[in-house]
């Protein structure tokens, strides 16, 4: 069964890059433009993995992760956040919020696919 992935990012180009990378690897990709949109789409469907930016308008990534984790439906769904800083502090906050892992920008498609495989299995 094809795994479906929700990507949440306010940058169109980054959403496109993520879409290209993941669909190229055979995943179904749904896009959301910010935290609120992400919440809505996550609650409307079932996703095997969520990839989200942290700095976004309306609702930032950390808040969205926290909100999602409060909902039992999303317990256990792997959430990967994208961050420009390899700052340990941000990572700790995101993990405390309930993120599964991270990917540091800039990244090449292979890195993203590798992470998707890591958390979704082959």
């Amino acid at each position: 069964m094809t795994a479906s992935i929700l990507t949440v990012d306010d940058s169109t180009s980054l959403r496109l890059a993520i879409r290209l990378a993941l669909t190229g690897a055979g995943y179904d990709v749904t896009e959301a433009v910010d935290g609120v949109d992400g919440m809505t789409k996550a609650n409307a469907g079932r996703y095997d993995m969520i990839v989200t930016d942290l700095n976004m308008p309306n609702m930032d990534g950390l808040t969205m992760i926290r909100e999602l984790r409060k909902d039992a439906r999303h317990a256990g769904t792997p959430i990967i956040f994208l961050t420009t800083e390899s700052d340990a502090d941000i990572k700790a906050q995101a993990r405390a919020a309930g993120a599964t892992g991270w990917l540091v920008k800039p990244f090449v498609p292979d890195q993203l696919i590798k992470i998707a495989r890591k958390v979704l299995g082959k």
Binding site: M49, R69, A75, G76, T77, P78, I79, K91, A92, R95, G98, A99, T100, G101, W102, K118, V119, L120, G121, K122
Partner: protein
């Protein structure tokens, strides 16, 4: 054992694979660089690993995997094959057999010890390779113990994925640590309470292992320690690694000494038949029983047909007679197995004996394709082990003594089989010092087996080595010479209705020949009548038949001896032995039977004739009745007992002894 049980089937198949691997390894002792053999070993190990994992033999699969990867290096030319490596894999192969049979003792420790030796052997082989730039130490890897943060699963980390990732690095042995599992009341179902202890075999650095845990590393417990510290620290220095592997590398020294001479011409590997149908032995026995009954029913039919049947019945009866006969012959062939399977097992024995005695010994086998009844093959194994051990231990001299005597340093044990009529001759010949007749005599006199200065034919003297409690070894070694064995050999061979002959040339070696009937299931018998009962005497034991004249009968009353070609032969009146209580026939016959050198006459009422005898074993209730080895069913449906000749001859002996003494 059910034929449909895949695990049982795997045990059989695995055993055969190991046999093949063993054969190839032993052949490699002479031809280290023979790639066909290397590939054969690799294939065997590979199949064993794959099938083993499939049928739940995880320990076997794991262990075999290590050996396979080590051997893969040889196959790919990364390391050269060394006799040390072959010796280690041979011992590993024994361990696999134990794992396969589920009787592994010493558990993982034994296996780890062998693997350590294997690493050492590979490292040593890699130490002086022709071209081994990429030589890697086998068994290198990491021991990873980890416990994930309790909330990891809620946060989207799937521990199974992590284990999968570790598996991607290399073969893993994974053990779950459940010591921190809370009680059911305290258990939070979404929390991860289990830790894991993983041994991963890989060439990847520790950072690769850390990468697996990159997202959870900060909150988890993780310990990564390298495997096989000794091998990784000093892989290039054989001297340093040798002590570590001392127990298992010891055989290598002997193995290395053996094939030092120019390699002998490659003996043709025993050809394997292309197709086989595997049938449990008991089904063959069942079929044999049915065929036996069919033959019996058929002979009753032909009796009736000839008595009062018309032409039509007679022709059908004859047709069935022909078919039943052919069926029986085909059935006999089905039970026959080439002795190759038996001989193959001795190559290992001789290999081990050479190692233990420090002698250089070659085993040469001929006539492996000779076929013998399956049951006979199984029962021949132990006697042959004893004889071969004796040849290697007592017969063959140490290398220096051999050279001093003008022989080649390597002793040879020649094992051969060939068929002669209804018998198979198995010969065990060594080119050692031969049997010391003076010492045999001295020993026999000391043990009271013979009188001092008693005159003995050469064969009689040599046969003394089969007397109970006889041993000529001046020194008892752990191989032979405990004074048990050779008499057991003789008993076993006689129970197979076989005989043993011994020949020996001083300084030139000894030859032991076993004559064994081809089959145990059907014998040619002489059907006789004693009183109102019919009995079968195995024809192979019969020497001659003569009439007991009334005159001689009277004369022999009370002493039971007749003169047969100037020799006194004791005889037994079976009428008396079986207490028939019927009046004797006017013309009684004597059937002279022999086992070994003893002859006895059996007085019977009537000799009926030859009888193809299908042997039926006695019921458990009657099994211990002496004088009979079994029973058979006659054409008219009545039962005839088969006489135990060895027993009857023994019964007659004491009388003879008394008479001699008188």
């Amino acid at each position: 054992m059910s034929a449909t049980d895949p695990i049982a089937a795997f045990r059989i198949e695995g055993g055969e694979l190991l046999d093949e691997v063993e054969q190839a390894l032993l052949d490699m002792g002479h031809r280290l660089d023979d790639m066909d053999l290397v590939n054969a070993v690799f294939r065997g190990l590979h199949t064993l690993k794959g099938s083993g994992a499939m049928f739940g033999f995880d320990a076997l699969a794991q262990f075999t995997h290590h050996c396979e990867s080590a051997f893969d290096k040889v196959r790919k030319g990364v390391v050269p094959a060394t006799s040390q490596l072959v010796a280690v894999i041979l011992s590993a192969q024994d361990h696999m057999r134990a794992l396969l049979d589920g009787r592994a003792t010493g558990g993982e420790a034994a296996g780890d010890e062998i693997l350590a030796a294997l690493e050492a052997a590979i490292a040593e082989a890699a130490g002086a390779p022709p071209a081994a730039p990429a030589a890697k130490v086998a068994g290198q890897g990491w021991h990873v113990v980890f416990r994930l943060p309790a909330d990891c699963m809620a946060n989207g980390t799937n521990p199974l994925m992590l284990l999968d990732e570790l598996r991607d690095l290399g073969p893993c042995r994974i053990v779950a640590l459940t010591d921190r599992l809370p009680t059911l009341e305290e258990l939070t179902p979404t929390h991860c309470h289990i830790g894991w202890d993983v041994t991963v075999e890989t060439d990847e650095p520790a950072s690769a292992v850390e990468d697996v845990f990159i997202f959870v590393m900060d909150d988890m417990e993780l310990a990564i320690t390298p495997l096989a510290v000794d091998a990784t620290e000093a892989p290039a220095d054989p001297a340093a690694t040798a002590p570590v592997a001392a127990p298992a590398t010891a055989p290598a020294a002997a193995a290395a000494a053996t094939p030092a001479a120019p390699p002998p011409p490659a003996p043709p590997a025993a050809a394997k038949a292309a197709e086989h149908v595997r049938v449990p032995a008991e089904r063959l026995d069942e079929l044999m029983d049915r065929v036996g009954e069919l033959v019996i029913a058929q002979s009753r039919l032909s009796q009736i047909a000839h008595q009062d049947g018309g032409l039509a019945l007679r022709s059908v009866s004859e047709e069935i007679e022909r078919l039943a006969g052919e069926l029986r012959d085909t059935m006999m062939v089905l039970r026959m197995m080439p002795v190759a399977s038996l001989f193959g097992r001795f190559r290992r024995l001789v290999h081990d004996l050479a190692r233990d005695t420090g002698k250089a010994i070659d085993l040469v086998t001929t006539g492996e394709s000779t076929e013998v009844d399956k049951t006979v093959i199984e029962r021949l194994f132990d006697p042959l082990v004893h004889i071969i051990r004796n040849s290697c231990d007592h017969g063959l001299e140490k290398a220096e003594d051999r050279v001093a005597a003008g022989k080649s340093a390597t002793g040879t044990v020649h094992l051969s089989a060939h068929q002669a009529g209804g018998e198979v001759l198995i010969t065990i010949r060594d080119d050692g010092r031969g049997i010391d007749r003076a010492r045999v005599r001295a020993k026999a006199e000391a043990n009271g087996l013979i009188q001092p200065d008693q005159l003995l034919a050469d064969q009689e003297l040599l046969q003394l080595i089969f007397a109970p409690g006889f041993s000529t070894a001046a020194q008892v070694t752990n191989l032979s010479g405990r004074g048990v064995g050779m008499d057991v050999v003789k008993r076993t061979i006689e129970s197979l209705r076989g005989t043993i002959e011994v020949a020996s040339i001083d300084g030139g070696g000894s030859t032991i020949t076993l004559r064994i009937p081809l089959t145990l299931a059907i014998i040619d018998g002489l059907l006789v009548r004693v009183g109102s009962g019919d009995y079968v005497i195995p024809l192979s034991a019969v020497e001659e038949c003569l009439e007991l004249s009334g005159e001689e009968d009277l004369r022999s009353q009370g002493r039971s001896l007749i003169t047969l070609r100037d020799r006194l032969v004791p005889f037994l009146r079976l009428r008396d032995v079986f207490a028939t209580g019927t009046p004797a026939d006017p013309h009684q016959k004597i059937v002279v039977v022999a086992t070994g050198n003893d002859r006895v006459g059996l007085v019977v009422d009537q000799i009926i004739g030859n009888h193809q005898t299908v042997i039926k074993s006695m019921s458990p209730l009657h099994r211990h009745v002496g004088s009979f080895t079994g029973a058979t069913i006659l054409g008219d449906g009545s039962v005839a007992l088969i006489l135990d000749i060895a027993q009857l001859v023994a019964l007659a002996q004491p009388r003879e002894e008394r008479l001699r003494a008188a």
